[in-house]
Symmetry: C2
């Protein structure tokens, strides 16, 4: 039995691959693990039966045999640990790849997600512009530090890893803003990630769900 | 040679054990691993030499032989994987403990950290109260879901794990606010964590640094 993940029946990102099933799909594609997808509506996600699987009423979840997981970071790490291709073979290199996963989710993503939420939820507030500038300054500081560390390297630490996968997925949320334009090496880094065949298969799969749900 | 971590020479939390060296100290105490601490000032953290260790100019870092790590979540996980005591023995249980670490840092902490930052940085803004209420609503939603999942259990999933350690450390940031008062089982959960001898040793160690720096 292949693992089963949950994803939005109608993703609010309109098929841009920003929902949190995307990194899980990408990881599964990188390691060549077939999977099944169960689509859930917003209403279903808030029901008690779904909350036994995901206490916060979110996607994605991951089921494989008796194991049920949530949190995209934890799912990607579980997939990476169980297959070749997303973590180095040496113990120190593995620890550093995991470090970059946490850096993506704990250090880089919070101000980026705050900006996304502010753009959705706070547009009508009188303080929206002021707060947006403050958030964008925080994001620029983080991106400048990340850019300095990446330098001319292709990936963050040797070969492509689960750390790069999570970092690139987090940075993708800035697509279309000017924030990434200031750090050309980060733009190229994201483009290298998106050019990977596994990324493209994952992206196409989530886009197909959106197009189906939109009746296209 | 014991591992060496970095911590604030003068912690802005005034010894309350909210800085990110705290979960690392706690994990090291739980597994009985002696460690050394190198104190760094804010000015030192922003220097190029420190940034080779921590690209974002933050504490903590962790060095052990040739390995250098940052990100408290990654360090705690590395310690947990290398010693008995912070992860279950079975593979599924280990995956779920790691899941709770990610839930603590990716799902529970962001709105809590936003509130802490708003209380520090936005007190003078005319919209401060309005925004604070919005953040506190987001926090309450997360806490209610977490409380429902914890129920009457002692820890999140069987025995105390690195997942509980990170979750309790994240919830501790709400100490003194009313936000935790609504979920009595979460209050008791945090208290159980803080009552652990390993927590108390870690807390005392970071408090001693603060008291020394304050000239007490």
């Amino acid at each position: 039995m292949p693992p089963v993940i949950t994803a939005f029946a109608q993703s609010p990102d309109r098929g841009r691959g920003l929902a949190r099933d995307m990194p899980v799909r990408w990881a599964l594609e990188e390691v060549g693990q077939p999977y099944e997808v169960e689509l859930v509506s917003f209403a279903e996600m808030k029901q008690p039966v779904y909350r036994t699987l995901q206490p916060f009423g979110q996607i994605p979840t991951y089921r494989e045999g008796e194991l049920a997981l949530f949190e995209s970071g934890a799912i990607v790490l579980y997939i990476a640990q169980g297959h070749a291709g997303l973590l180095p073979n040496d113990a120190d290199g593995r620890a550093r790849a995991v470090m970059w996963m946490f850096a993506a989710l704990s250090t880089i993503e919070p101000p980026i997600m705050d900006r996304s939420m502010a753009l959705i939820l706070e547009r009508q507030e009188i303080w929206h512009e002021q707060r947006l500038r403050l958030l964008e300054d925080r994001i620029r500081t983080r991106l400048a530090d990340l850019s300095a560390r990446l330098g001319d390297a292709e990936w963050l630490d040797g070969a492509f890893s689960a750390g790069d996968l999570m970092m690139i997925q987090v940075l993708r949320r800035l697509a279309g803003s000017e924030l990434l334009e200031g750090d050309r090496n980060l733009l190229a880094y994201v483009a290298r990630g998106e050019a990977r065949p596994a990324f493209q298969r994952a992206f196409a799969a989530q886009l197909a769900v959106f197009n189906d749900s939109a009746g296209n």
